[in-house]
Amino acid sequence: MYSDLLHALPDVLGFYNFAAVIIGVIAGIVVGAMPGLSATMAISVLVPFTFGLEPLVALGLMAGIYNGAMYGGANPAGLLRIPGTPAAGATPLDGYPTAQKGQGGYALQVAVVSSAFGGIASAFALMLLAPPLSKVTLLFGPSEVFWVAVFGLASIIFLLGGNPVKGLISACFGVFVSVIGADPIFGTDRYTFGRLEIYDGISIVILLVGLYALPPVIDLLEVPLKTETDANKLGTEPIWKTLPRMKGYWKTWIRGSLIGIWIGILPGAGGSMAAFMSYNEARRTSKTPDTWGNGEPEGVAASEVANNADTASALIPALTLGIPGTAVAAVMLGGLLIHGLQPGPMLFRENPDIVFGFMWQFLFGAILLVFLGGSLATNSFARLLNLPRPLLGSVIIVLMLIGVYSIHGRMFDVYLMLGFGAIGYVMDKLKFPLPPVVLGLILGAFAEENLRLALRIGRGDWTILFQNVTSLIIVALTVAVVVGPLIKRRYLSRRQASAPGQEPGSKTGTQD
């Protein structure tokens, strides 16, 4: 098997195939940086055009876009508090405050190095461990996946910020949105009011763009005159000078990579869950948890390393079992199918050059991030802040409208996005945290479907949920995640420790 891996290398280094990866990475960064345009969308737009291309050129473009976009989303997330992609949902928590402190350039450099680290770790996992790791996926049936979703929902607790009640309301809103559409088992209509457009449920991208991107843009436009102080506060230094400052993040990088790889292997969860969980864990184990949320660059590292670490690993179940780990991987499967590459155990035997070539392309895509992303980030995107605010705000609004319209080519989606934008604006003003909404939407649907499937398998018997070791391990982890902090909090309050820091995502302003 490893000889196949080496055998595929020369092809990948061919001019066209390598150029495809480079173009893909650049395109991915640009797409990711634009709110409303996501990797899933870019690749689905690309898929029909790849019909006439050589397989490795087509796959190289896709691998490049995937890697690039996962990092690109960090740019507006850090600079403007607007995650460019769903996966960058956790990046503004610390990225924006960092930028506000005048370290925007550094935040982006941390993001790019972390993204590359996660991408490289993930590519190695894919190249070296794909067949054994696909066996891990097989352990996760409906009842196990249900517990994973519960585990994810339980960790939301830490994202609630200063006010758990508001956080829980946000999470419930997300879960409610997940219920809209046909139910996963019988296809019964729920809250669709006869609109076929939402029969398949509310697309995460529409919700995210409306909820996350619109309020900050309105914010930008509300205070058009506060721009002058920001202009020269990027603090951009060449990336090789800032690298030594990042060496303290190695624990976060390794932890985030492992979390990202694990989430990638599990079907359905995707980059945003990986990023949030990694952020959580990093914050929980940090020696200075109080600085988190107020501009701790390590928070950016935690989020960005994990959302890139799930890229290649999401392809492990996709290539070996035909089940995509993320929405992007699902679209990529379509791209593979067009070139006659049927996912499954036979794929590795029948088309080793292409499959292993694809894996190399993931690795190169991740490495290229440092070079392409590093220079792009510091030289172009960070200059965003120099634009007059009214101009910047209008450009972003136009991009959002185009992006959402182009998902399915429907105005309905645009109206839906604007509706969520209004809700997001109100929530933002009332200081309701937004991350729990996104996680509620993703994990709510995930938990419901798998719980119902598990109960059907058990023919209504609830004990099916506790009948094997994998389930019990995840249940134990969930309990630990919920109870652990309560005990810790009681211990801390006895020592009269101060309350947790400011609410995530809230503006720290320009005063400091």
Partner: protein, 317 residues
Amino acid sequence: MLKLMQNTAIAGAMILAAGAALAEYPEKPIEVIVGFDAGGGTDVMARTAAPFIEKYLGEGASLVVKNVPGASGQIGITETAAADPDGYTLGTFNLPGMMARTIDRESAYDVDSFTYLANVVNDPNVIVTSQKGGLDTLEKLIEEAKANPGAVTVGMSSLGGDDHFMLIKLQELTGAEFTIVPFSGSAPARTALMGGHVAMGILNISEVAEFQEELNVLGVAQAERSPFAPDLPTFKEQGLELLNGSMRGFVAPAGLPEDVEAKLLEAFGQLAGDQEFLDAMAATANPVEVVTGAEFKALTQDLHDLAKGVWEETPWN
């Protein structure tokens, strides 16, 4: 004067030419509405078939695929049904799904809303079992399902699809009883089978061809053995009259002009004999079975009646 005559002559010639061009369908690009995302099975079929249809429609014909995904293809097929019947809008059509949608929810189309061009793909169902259970023959499976009604769990993709109708036929033929576990697609169902989380599965042959070593394939619901997997026995060989599959083809809105319909039918009819097309379809795991025009409509009507019968006895939502 001469000039005027010349101009008149040219104008006259142009009018004649325009008249001739009008008769010469197609004179502009033909849109093919696919009710699923780019890269899915139906999309791949449409894009693979498009250049061949262009070839058979003659010089200058061009087919443009437009993806209108959502609601299991219902949004796309509704758009096809409502389009102008001028031959410039075609759509992909899935059976039995498109007919089941007219029964289990409100739909803006029915069997008579379409001009039936050609069914192109027939992907027969297969019954597979997990290698983690002991049910490695059809006999053992049915015995177990009869002895313990409902104890055998069956993974499949959504209710009201070909897999579901296949199971209903099996239950009617054998009197055995199963518990349905409808996953959101075939791939997750297949994975649950490989992990031993469900005992049995109903899939399509294209979905198991690459997984023959990981699953027990008990039989194929087709009259003849499939060229896709010639080693796999049919149910007929095992004494069970079980035929079912997932079908994909092309329709146009009802009421096409006769000459346009004839031209399209002729073009689609030629697909079956085109080796290059058959090879392209085989490479993308699409078993071809071309059925055109009236026969295709009759097939659709049959499936509609079957689905309606099932719905009246055991509605699935």
